[in-house]
Symmetry: C2
Subunit: 206 residues, 2 copies
């Protein structure tokens, strides 16, 4: 029996195994979009028709949730990002390590990487799409890091004169660059912790 939310009639309902139908369809749609982005080499290879066919849904199902191709691609790209941890709020060091870990793109996930490379190499062809993705997905993630850094300044764990933006790039860059480096091998599990601890300690002697 399916769960219904219509009206006051109480029915004996049994939740079907798995996710509700619309969630399954949404996941299929997003996966189909990611696949097409990766296979077809970018944005031009994606159409609502092609996504609908690949996801085995009707186009109206897609339009119910995404008003246009751009919105769908934004969500597909967002789905490729490693979810950001919610800062626990105790140790700033531990929160930064957890965040740094989110930048360790798994190089074995070829589809995801192909997708990103193809988007990036064509980014200048779709400036509005990229700007929107930046605004809706990327910058909010960076804001999480900025807030943790500011919290650390307030709590006295971090220097009051630290440069938030530069620190942001040091954290994100060290892990992201290492994770994508050719021939550098898999990233050791303790790498994010070592990055944050090195940054906390500093390398100078003055």
């Amino acid at each position: 029996m399916t769960q219904t939310s219509d009206g006051p009639v109480t029915k004996l309902t049994v939740r079907p195994p798995g996710r509700p139908r619309s969630e399954r369809a949404d996941r299929a749609i997003i996966e189909a979009t990611v696949d097409l982005l990766a296979e077809e080499g970018g944005v031009a290879g994606v159409s609502i028709e092609a996504v609908a066919a690949r996801a085995a849904v009707g186009k109206t199902t897609i339009y119910r949730r995404w008003p246009n191709k751009e919105a769908l691609i934004i969500d597909a790209l967002a789905a490729l990002k490693e979810p950001f941890p919610v800062p626990v709020g105790d140790s700033v060091r531990d929160d930064l390590v957890a965040i740094a870990r989110a930048f360790m793109t798994d190089k074995s996930d070829k589809k995801r990487l192909d997708c990103y490379w193809s988007i990036m190499s064509g980014a200048e062809r779709y400036p509005e799409l990229i700007a929107r993705f930046n605004r809706e997905v990327i910058e909010p993630r960076r804001d999480v890091i900025r807030r943790v850094l500011r919290r650390g300044i307030e709590s006295g764990e971090l220097r009051a004169d630290l440069d938030v933006e530069v620190t942001l790039w040091l954290i994100m860059g060290a892990v992201a660059h290492r994770a994508r480096a050719w021939g550098a091998g898999p990233v050791p599990d303790d790498f994010p912790g070592k990055v944050i601890d090195a940054l906390l300690a500093g390398i100078g002697t003055n």
Copy 2:
């Protein structure tokens, strides 16, 4: 008159304007290879024939210098890298800033970026090429940084307990990641200096 190096006869020689013929040909060959890598989307699009045609040289001219396509591609990829500065040897801080600056890929150089993205997205198809490029081009550059860091430890400018590898990724990653970031705008000229100074000072208070 052309300069000749045959025999003992002294001729009045005038060096032609510009570079010697072989250097010009080599530059044309490398440029043609880069162009083809960028346009054809990767290694498969490059053949000695195609390079010869694009560079307007004979294939023998290419083979005189490069024994095979792999060697040529390695040099072409190397030509895309920003030349590394030779460390001056005084202030470790200044040497690190100059090195960090070399990671500020100019995003306006679209050809260069297209080339890199296409190689990277296909890297797993050419593991030997990538391994060789890593060995011959990338690791020596990283060794320059490692030597500067060790020099700093010896001189007392840097902490004796610093982690050379982690510091390497902090330096390279912060600038490279920032330079390629979508929507983050051009990299300010003082960014490499700020990165190194932040790293020297550390962000913690303990």
